[in-house]
């Protein structure tokens, strides 16, 4: 079975700074990572491949440096990587992105075999829209299964798949026919460590690079800034909290003494807490 995983290279949100004047994210010098939610999608795809045979292709759209993330996905065990990269994609919102990716997916189907399953993460950590996955499904006419926590059953012969979907107030068990687009929930699995052979292959692989034209995209008006109806009216940074890190020392270096000093410092800031804790400890 051929499975495609769409993933995105994102700035490591733990290390992002916001420009004090323009309020835009300062990406310079910030390390990039694979969108963490996409890793659950990738691992799920790799597990299906290991169980049922076939191949996993990873696909991303982005600048040339997104190659790093694809190579990393190969290290985890993906079989093939496709980078969709073109200046005309710059400034894409979710509508334009899902258009470009759906075109690339069609092309992948022609070149490497049509995928019964396309995976994405439930959302990205930089955009947080959760729109691109469903957008792709709609454009390609795939059944969509969002916020999937577990794949219960998959019958390649019958072409059916059933999953657990986390929904408000409970868990839905859904069954549908493939081809499907699945957006994977976090915490559903744990990313494996690729073998040494995977690492060699990732280091030596040529990553497939497609421009808009290579992917068969002729309507450039649907791409990039031109194809993006979303307008950012205003960006603001949340007020940073005033609290600063406090170094708490103690004259003797025992952990008990340090802990006591830390507790004292906390109680000083939150006087009600000590009484609450004591009452809690007393079982009230």
């Amino acid at each position: 079975m051929h499975i495609v995983v769409c993933l995105k290279q994102v700035p490591d949100s733990a290390q992002i700074r916001v420009h004090p004047v323009t309020n835009t994210i300062m990406r310079q010098g910030v390390p990039t990572i694979i969108n963490p939610y996409d890793l659950f999608a990738l691992e799920e795809a790799l597990r299906l491949r290991d169980r049922l045979g076939g191949e996993v292709t990873v696909l991303t759209m982005g600048p040339l440096m997104a190659e790093d993330s694809l190579r990393k996905a190969l290290t985890f065990g993906a079989d093939r990587a496709v980078l969709l990269t073109d200046r005309s994609f710059a400034g894409s919102d979710t509508l334009a992105t899902s258009y470009a990716l759906s075109m690339a997916l069609t092309k992948i189907g022609q070149e490497f075999g049509g995928p019964p399953i396309v995976f994405t993460g439930k959302q990205t950590i930089d955009g947080d829209t959760a729109q691109v996955g469903p957008g792709i499904a709609k454009r390609l006419g795939l059944n969509q299964l969002t916020y999937v926590a577990r794949i219960c059953d998959l019958d390649p012969q019958a072409g059916t798949i059933s999953v657990e979907r986390r929904a408000e107030g409970g868990v839905q068990v859904l069954e549908t026919r493939m081809p499907v687009l699945i957006t994977m929930l976090e915490g559903t699995n744990e990313m494996r460590r690729g073998s040494l052979d995977d690492a060699y292959r990732a280091a030596r692989s040529q990553i497939v690079k497609w421009s808009a034209a290579d992917a068969g995209i002729t309507e450039l008006a649907k791409c990039g800034l031109k194809g993006s109806p979303t307008i950012v009216k205003k960006v603001f940074a949340p007020q940073a909290r005033a609290e600063k890190v406090q170094h708490i020392a103690s004259s003797d270096l025992s952990t008990d003494a340090l802990a006591a000093n830390v507790m004292a410092a906390i109680f000083q800031k939150q006087p009600a807490l000590e009484g609450d804790l004591l009452r809690f400890a007393a079982g009230q």
Partner: protein
Amino acid sequence: MIEERFDAIVVGAGPSGNAAAYTMAKEGLRVLQLERGEYPGSKNVQGAILYADALEKIIPDFREDAPLERHVIEQRLWTMDNGSHVGMHYRSDDFNEERPNRYTIIRAQFDRWFSGKVREAGAVLLCETTVTELLRDTAGRVIGVRTDRGGGTAFADIVILGEGVNGLVGQRAGLRPELKPDTVALAVKEMHFLPRETIEARFNLKGNEGVVIEAMGTITDGMTGTGFIYTNQESISIGIGCIVSDFTESSCTPYGLLEAFKRHPSVQPLLEGSECKEYVAHLIPEGGYNAMPQLYGDGWIVVGDAGQFVNAVHREGSNLAMTTGRVAAETVVWLKRRREELSKANLAEYQRRLEETFVMKDMKKYRKIPSLLHHNRQFFNLYPKLLSGAAQTWFRVDGIDKRTKEKQIFQSFRAGRKLTGLIGDAFKLARSWR
């Protein structure tokens, strides 16, 4: 699983490993480089100063695209007492040369660049791959490595160990002993962000000029160690480090020392209004020549920090790392060209070649310094205080005549450390320096 065979395996993608891998790959050897970090540089910590000479000998045109911060035009040496410092500054426009001699760098960026060059040269780099043990044949010759990727193995004619200060692979294999607390320093560093213009105004710089401040004295609270402040383009690196055994004997913590250093009135205004974005710590091998392990054996060579190649007095390390990596690689290439075995006897050529470079000459010159400084704490506490007191007496104008002031200064030194102590210290220092 296909059994992979290489001419050489390099453990580590720091300055020494990269220098070795690049030099061998450029000469057409099949090189596998293994790095445990997420990317080259992710585990590496340095002040950091790049010494152009060592890199030029490996990549002559590195200035064209290497991520360099500022070229150093001024060196300040500070002897610090609480609330004061006596400084010696050397600044020269000669350092604004076409091919500057020293640069400040940010290692995470620089190492990625260097690693890119290594891969361009043809080496295969695998990150997030830890070497767990060296593989040997029945004769005890090292023939390859085992990794933590499912126990996967790789084989080569030589394994070059550039695994850093606390190189566990070599230690586990019994190639060198575990680090001793009195031969290794623990340094902590912070990166403080400031606008370019602010840095240039505070440090009296223009363009890409940079300043290096090295400080010693009461900031280490009597322990053997130094502090430093380096200017990057839009940040300042500030750090302090002391010998590990000193930390265990004293009640000081590394971050406590750094906090106090940052609050020192000579330092605080330089950092005013900055935003701390990074806090890192690392070990530095400072045992010197006497702590150096065996550097080669049947099928293996040690380079960089793993071989204790650090000149603690001059704060040099990365240049020694690059040079040992390059020389090790050149030795391997030379032996392979001559179709000679990479045996212990033949690899002695590595050490012979190193003896001819500044690396071994400097290591030998300062061989007695580590133990001298370690056993004579007056160099870090008493003398800085006396020097600072003397400077204050001398420069304060208060109606006391200069001859009396001279006497006061001389008496302060005699009271602090009797005449025999003073002469003895001068003698010891001179003899160790020789």
